[in-house]
């Protein structure tokens, strides 16, 4: 069964039709590349899944149940996590502090509760081990490489039982070696049974790591096929409009 199912989703802002009648489904443990030119509607689509916007029409279902989101926090409660393009990290805090930002672990009784440093270091370390990333929970994020920073941002999504991780351009501004690191992180997420939606402009990344590619153009879904049955040339044609649509 699909972990997330969108049916005839549309979103308009006044007269502007940002997303138009899009249906798609995401299976557990699947990596889906979401591609499209600027203004194609992919970030609007993602923001609806993340709870930033409410769809004008259509329904979203998660594990077969209707999903209605008013706030990003609610998306998180349903197991939808986002890795923002700028990673949303605080340089002056440690890796563990960043992983737990906004949901710090505490110990104590009633109102007398203090931060549980030991537990946060331990758990963050375990997550980095699962991600096979050489990231020390006690280090300041300020001193970290681009790949380690990605690991911190991704570790955040693994605190709770995430079902879907939406990644917004994770490889946009980092070095080649670090791109490989990030793609490995995505594979580790998938191996945990987590679905990943990878929003990217970079064709090689999508074809390297994704199982499926969805292409959007001018608010519509114009392709949804397995990586094996597509090619970078075809996707390029779909993005630019040289190829109208494929089923």
């Amino acid at each position: 069964m699909a972990v997330l199912e969108l049916t005839n989703i549309s979103k308009h802002f006044g007269a502007i039709q940002a997303v138009n009648d899009v249906s798609l489904s995401i299976e557990p443990g699947q990596v889906v590349g979401l591609m499209g030119d600027n203004g194609a509607g992919k970030s609007t689509l993602v923001k609806m899944i993340a709870g930033n916007f409410r769809p004008s029409h259509g329904t979203m279902q998660m594990d077969g149940k209707d999903l209605i989101l008013h706030k990003p926090v609610e998306a998180r409660q349903h197991g939808i996590e986002i890795v923002h393009q700028d990673l949303a990290l605080c340089n002056n805090l440690t890796a563990a502090a960043n992983v737990y930002l906004g949901r710090e672990l505490r110990r104590g009784v009633g109102p007398f509760r203090i931060l549980d440093y030991a537990a946060m270091y331990k758990r963050a370390g375990q997550i980095f081990a699962v991600l096979k990333s050489e990231t020390r929970p006690r280090d300041l994020v300020k001193q970290m490489s681009g790949g380690q920073r990605q690991a911190v941002a991704i570790a955040r999504t693994m605190l709770s039982q995430a079902k879907i991780v939406l990644m917004d351009e994770p490889t946009a501004a980092i070095s080649v070696r670090q791109v490989a690191e990030v793609l490995n992180l995505i594979r580790h997420l998938r191996d945990q049974g987590i679905s990943v939606v990878l929003i990217s402009h970079r064709m090689p990344d999508v074809f390297d790591v994704a199982d499926r590619v969805i292409v959007m153009r001018r608010g519509r879904k114009v392709a949804d096929k397995t990586i094996a049955s597509s090619s970078p040339e075809e996707v390029t044609g779909l993005i630019t409009g040289a190829i109208e649509q494929v089923s």
Partner: protein, 332 residues
């Protein structure tokens, strides 16, 4: 392979000692100690119980306000209104007690005033997006003016039926001959240190100073916390005002004039970063101590008091210079 990865993750890069040496606060402590040692040998009048009593007590007023300012500065903000708020709260306390009310009511009125002023600053900054510099600059003017209105610009030195209680509160020495203000300072510093290091609130303050956008995205209640830090800053100024009133035994509308600059200097010397994200309670105290020791020593060494500003300004620049040098080394 897996074992080495686990080892890497578990590794602590810095020992406690190396972390202590790396802080600006540590070097300022060394500077304070060296200055005290030097003055003990160079003058007969420094290491006397009376002078030490005076120094420790003089530190407290700037230090207490600096503790509150530390919260604001860690979030990346600034509060220029503290000197005027101190004056306003002192005046509210004085006028209320002068009118015949008890000390409890007077203190409650002063604290209430501080919290309202702080909330006003905070709401303008957090919810309406005013720059902190501008809002608190405005409040600097407003609060002092209100103090003048409240007292009709007179000196208040009679505090009604609880006159003696108030003077004992600020001027007494209830424990081991340590001046009361010093005791309050130590207590408040401990609370501040605890809140910054061990509470979720403290952690979120650092997060806002480090990357406000990230704090918002991860669900930190940024606006509420910002209002809270300006309330804490005003509260600290109010508390210092109450204690100072008891110590001086009189309030003029000049009280706390220019104090905001000393307070900011103390926090910066103590290691807080005006760009946000860095600061400690201990640093605020140590910074205030260094300023006071400089001032005291100039007097004892017979140096013209007009030179005071040069030495304090020099200390600010020197403290930040050390920080810059460390950063240069790190980026190499």
């Amino acid at each position: 392979m897996a074992a080495t990865l686990d080892q890497t993750i578990a590794q602590k890069q810095h020992t406690l000692l190396s972390r202590v040496f790396a802080t600006q606060t540590f070097w300022v402590v060394i500077a304070v100690i060296l200055a005290c040692l030097f003055l003990s040998f160079a003058t007969d009048s420094f290491a006397t119980p009376k002078n030490l009593y005076n120094i420790t007590r003089n530190i407290t007023f700037v230090a207490i306000v600096a503790l509150g300012m530390t919260f604001v500065i860690i979030t990346g903000g600034i509060d220029l209104s503290v000197g005027s708020v101190l004056c306003l709260c002192s005046m509210i306390l004085a006028v209320t007690m002068h009118a015949g009310y008890s000390i409890e009511i007077g203190i409650a009125a002063a604290i209430g005033t501080a919290l309202i002023v702080g909330a006003f600053n905070g709401v303008l900054i957090a919810y309406l997006g005013f720059p902190p510099f501008v809002v608190t600059l405005g409040m600097l003017s407003i609060a002092r003016s209100l103090a003048m209105v409240a007292s009709n610009n007179t000196v208040v030195f009679q505090f009604g039926p609880d006159h003696d209680k108030l003077l004992a509160l600020g001027g007494g020495a209830w424990l081991f001959g340590i001046a009361n203000p010093v005791l309050y300072m130590i207590l408040l510093a401990l609370i501040t240190g605890f809140v910054l290091r061990w509470t979720k609130f403290g952690r979120h303050i650092f997060a806002i100073g480090g990357n406000e956008h990230a704090a918002t995205l991860t669900g930190v209640p940024v606006r509420q916390i910002k209002v809270a830090v300006y309330m804490i800053s005003a509260l600290a100024a109010g508390i210092a005002g109450i204690i100072q009133t008891g110590w001086l035994g009189a309030v003029t509308t000049n009280l706390g004039n220019g104090m905001e600059l000393q307070v900011i200097a103390a926090t910066v010397i103590g290691g807080a970063n005006l760009a946000g994200g860095v600061g400690t309670a201990f640093g605020a105290i140590v910074g205030a101590a260094l300023i006071e020791v400089i001032r005291n020593s100039l007097g004892l060494l017979g140096i013209n008091a007009f030179w005071q500003g040069v030495f304090i300004g020099g200390a600010i620049l020197l403290a930040v210079l050390f920080d810059r040098i460390r950063n240069f080394r790190r980026s190499d």
